[in-house]
C-alpha cells in the first residue's frame, strides 16, 4: 500500500485550504456559480438532483482498514450513513453540504485520501485489476504502474485542461478484469519472447454515446519507457483532440477520425522528439514505489485446508458462498474473497457505514489489513487463509454481506440513475432490484452461471451497459422511462460491444424480458460449460429476439 511522502501530504493539505477559501468566496458572493463550478468539480464535488455529491478517489481501488473506517466515520458525520461504490473503484457520498465539504476533505486527508481529479477534463483515477498482486494468472502487479501514473498525472500542468476527461486502466493478468479495452488508454503488462516485462498499449476505447474498443498502438513498450510514451500520446491528444464539440472531444473520436495508423505515426513522431530520460521515472523511483506493494508475509500452508473442506461438507450455504465468491490466490492455502455489495433487492454498490466498519474489521483480522473496491461495485478481501474463510463468512452473515452471487446474474452493475443523477434519463437501480429479486434463487443463479448484467440510466454509460453480456440502457421516451436491451457485450480480453436486441420496452416489462432471454440461453446453450456470452457469440441475436415480444405474441408464434 502506497504511503504519502511529505510532498504528497502537503499537496493534499494545500488543496483543502485552497478549496476552503474558494467555498468561502462563493458563500460571501465574491465568486459566481459560473466561476465556482469548475473549482468545485476539480475537487470532485458535483450537484445532483437532490443534493451535492462528492466523489472520493480510491486509487486503483486499494484501501487499508483505517481508511475504510474513516470513510464510514465521514459517511456518518457529513452524510446519511452510507456510500456508493462506483465503476471507477471510487466512493460517492450523496448528501454532503457545501459549507462542510472543506472539513470533510480535511478528515479525508488524515487518512491520505482526497477527491482531486475525480471530475473535470483531466486524467482521472487510474483503475486496475481488483485481484492485483494475488491473481494466479498475473505477469506482474499492475498497481505500481497505476501509482506511477497517478503521481505523474496529478496536477500535471500540461494535462490539466484536456479537451475532455481521460481514463486509464492497467491490468497485469491474462484475464482482463479491468476493462482496459474500453478506456482512453488501456495498459496490459505482458512478457515478450526474451522474458522481459513491458506494456501492450491500447488507445481510443470508451463507452458513452459513441462506444469503441481500444486499438493496440504498441505491442510491446519496454517498462521503463512508460511515462515518456504516455506523454507523447497525451500531447497528440491535447493538440489535436476536438474542443469544438464536447461529444466528439474524447481521444476515441480522434483515433477514429484520423485512423489508427495515422494516430500511431503522430504518437511515434512526438515520442521521437521527446527527451525520454527527462520524463521517465528512474529505476530507483520505480523500485521505491514497487516496494510499497510488496506482498504481506504469507504463511507456508498446504494447498488444501481440511477445516475449509469440512465446513463446506457440513454447511450447504457456506459451500455455495465458497463456490461463487472465492478467487484462486497465487499462494497455496490462501484465497481472495469477493464480498458482494449486491444483497438481493438492495441498490447495487451501496454500503452502510456499519458495513464499511465490519469490512474494515474483517480485513484487519483476516486479510492483512487490505481491501479492494472493484469496478463491479463489490469489495475484495485479497489475502485470506482458506483456514479462516468459514469464520470470515460467519461474520459476513452477521453484517448482511454474505450474498453468494459474485459474477452471477444478480451481481448487477448499475449507475445511480435518475434516483440521484442529474444527467440521467431514466432510473437504473429499481431495474436492478427488480431483476435481482426475480432471480433471487441461488440455485437457479448457479445453474445460469456467469452472466454480467450492466445498467446505465443514460447514454453516458456509467453503468457500462455496452459491455454487459446483457446491457440495459434507460431512456426518456416521450416522458416515460424506456429501456433498450443489448446482448453480447464483454469488457474482458475479448472485448466486444453489445448489439441492440430490438425496440425499447417499459420498465415493468424488463424482468420478464430478461427471464425469457435467460430461458432461451438455457435452451440453446451447448452444455452447462458454455457461458451466456459464449452462446450469444455462437448463435447470434436471432434466437433471443422473440424475448422482447409480449407473451401472447410468443404463444401465437409457437
Amino acid at each position: 500500500m502506497y504511503r504519502y511522502d511529505e510532498f504528497d501530504a502537503a499537496v493534499v493539505r494545500d488543496r483543502v485550504a485552497q478549496f476552503r477559501e474558494q467555498v468561502q468566496r462563493r458563500l460571501d458572493g465574491s465568486l459566481t456559480e459560473e466561476e465556482f463550478t469548475p473549482l468545485r468539480l476539480m475537487n470532485g464535488l458535483y450537484l445532483q438532483l437532490h443534493a451535492y455529491m462528492l466523489r472520493i478517489a480510491v486509487p486503483y481501488g486499494t484501501l487499508v482498514s483505517r481508511q475504510l473506517r474513516q470513510l464510514a466515520m465521514i459517511a456518518d458525520k457529513y452524510d446519511r450513513g452510507y456510500g456508493h461504490f462506483t465503476t471507477r473503484q471510487n466512493l460517492q457520498l450523496n448528501w454532503p453540504k457545501l459549507a462542510e465539504v472543506p472539513d470533510l476533505l480535511d478528515d479525508l486527508a488524515d487518512v491520505e485520501m482526497h477527491c482531486i481529479q475525480t471530475s473535470g477534463n483531466c486524467i482521472r483515477n487510474v483503475t486496475a485489476d481488483h485481484f492485483a498482486g494475488v491473481a494466479a494468472d498475473e505477469v506482474e502487479d499492475p498497481r505500481p504502474t497505476a501509482e506511477l501514473i497517478r503521481q505523474w498525472s496529478t496536477l500535471h500542468p500540461e494535462f490539466s485542461f484536456l479537451p475532455r476527461k481521460f481514463k486509464i486502466a492497467v491490468t497485469g493478468a491474462a484475464r482482463d478484469r479491468a476493462a482496459v479495452a474500453v478506456h482512453d488508454i488501456g495498459l496490459r503488462l505482458v512478457r515478450n519472447d526474451d522474458g522481459e516485462i513491458g506494456y501492450k498499449v491500447l488507445v481510443g476505447g470508451g463507452l458513452g454515446r459513441t462506444p469503441m474498443i481500444g486499438k493496440i498502438i504498441r505491442d510491446f513498450l519496454p517498462k521503463d519507457e512508460l511515462l515518456a510514451y504516455l506523454e507523447a500520446i497525451m500531447r497528440v491528444y491535447n493538440l489535436e483532440g476536438r474542443r469544438d464539440n464536447k461529444y466528439k472531444a474524447r481521444i476515441k473520436i480522434l483515433v477514429h477520425e484520423i485512423g489508427t495508423d495515422a494516430f500511431i505515426a503522430r504518437v511515434e513522431a512526438e515520442y521521437a522528439k521527446l527527451d525520454g530520460a527527462s520524463v521517465n521515472a528512474d529505476p530507483a523511483e520505480l523500485a521505491r514505489i514497487a516496494a510499497y506493494f510488496a506482498p504481506p508475509e504469507y504463511e507456508s500452508l498446504p494447498a488444501v485446508s481440511e477445516g475449509f473442506e469440512a465446513a463446506k461438507a457440513r454447511d450447504p450455504d457456506f459451500a455455495r458462498f465458497a463456490a461463487t465468491n472465492l478467487f484462486p490466490h497465487k499462494v497455496p492455502g490462501y484465497t481472495a474473497i469477493t464480498v458482494s455489495v449486491k444483497p438481493i433487492g438492495a441498490p447495487p454498490g451501496d454500503a452502510t457505514s456499519d458495513q464499511m466498519r465490519a469490512l474494515a474489521d474483517l480485513a484487519e483480522l483476516y486479510s492483512a489489513d487490505e481491501l479492494r473496491i472493484t469496478h463491479v461495485q463489490n469489495v475484495v478481501l485479497p489475502h485470506v487463509k482458506l483456514d479462516d474463510v468459514h469464520a470470515l463468512w460467519s461474520a459476513l452473515v452477521e453484517a448482511g454481506l454474505e450474498t453468494p452471487n459474485a459474477g452471477l446474474i444478480t451481481d448487477i452493475i448499475a449507475c445511480p440513475g435518475m434516483d440521484y443523477c442529474k444527467l440521467a434519463t431514466a432510473r437504473s437501480i429499481p431495474i436492478a432490484q427488480a431483476i435481482a429479486t426475480r432471480f433471487a434463487d441461488a440455485e437457479r443463479q448457479a445453474l445460469i452461471g456467469e452472466l454480467g448484467i450492466k445498467i446505465s440510466g443514460c447514454i453516458n454509460a456509467c453503468g457500462h451497459h455496452h459491455v454487459g453480456a446483457i446491457g440495459i440502457l434507460g431512456l426518456d421516451k416521450a416522458g416515460v422511462e424506456n429501456y433498450q436491451i443489448t446482448l453480447g457485450g464483454d469488457p474482458g480480453e475479448q472485448a466486444s460491444l453489445g448489439q441492440r436486441l430490438g425496440p425499447g420496452i417499459d420498465a415493468e416489462a424488463v424482468p420478464e424480458a430478461i427471464e425469457r432471454i435467460v430461458d432461451t440461453y438455457l435452451d440453446v446453450r451447448a452444455g452447462a460449460a458454455e457461458t451466456f456470452i459464449e452462446t450469444v457469440r455462437r448463435v447470434g441475436l436471432d434466437p433471443f429476439k422473440p424475448a422482447l415480444q409480449p407473451r401472447e405474441a410468443q404463444l401465437e408464434a409457437a
Binding site: T32, H50, A51, R80, K97, L98, P347, I429
Partner: protein, 101 residues
C-alpha cells in the same frame, strides 16, 4: 421554477414574492404567456444573482384536489427524493405524498 439551495443542495421552489421555499405547494405557477415570460426573467435573474444553483423551469399540472403535480417523472423524483430510499429527501418528512410516479 425550481433550483438547488446553495448551502445544502436541497430542492427549492420559487414562490410568490421572490422567495425560495422547500415546499412544492409554495411554488409560483405561471398560467399565462405573460406570467411565463416573467418567470423566465426571474430565472435569468436568479441565475445571475446566484443565491440558488441551476434554476430551471418545469411544467406542472394539478390533481383533483388542486395540488401541484410535476408533469415529468424527473421533477416528481426531485419533489420526493430517491425512489429507492424513501427514508431520504422530502418524502421522508411526508412531503408531497400526493405525487406518485
Amino acid at each position: 421554477m425550481s433550483a438547488n439551495a446553495l448551502l445544502g443542495g436541497e430542492v427549492v421552489y420559487y414562490a410568490a414574492g421572490g422567495r425560495w421555499s422547500p415546499h412544492l405547494a409554495d411554488a409560483f405557477v405561471a398560467r399565462t404567456e405573460a406570467e411565463a415570460e416573467s418567470l423566465e426573467a426571474a430565472r435569468a435573474a436568479a441565475e445571475a444573482q446566484g443565491a440558488v444553483v441551476e434554476p430551471e423551469l418545469a411544467p406542472v399540472g394539478t390533481d383533483a384536489g388542486g395540488r401541484l403535480v410535476p408533469s415529468h417523472y424527473r421533477e416528481k423524483i426531485r419533489a420526493l427524493g430517491p425512489t429507492v430510499r424513501t427514508d431520504l429527501g422530502p418524502q421522508a418528512a411526508g412531503e408531497n405524498a400526493h405525487v406518485s410516479l
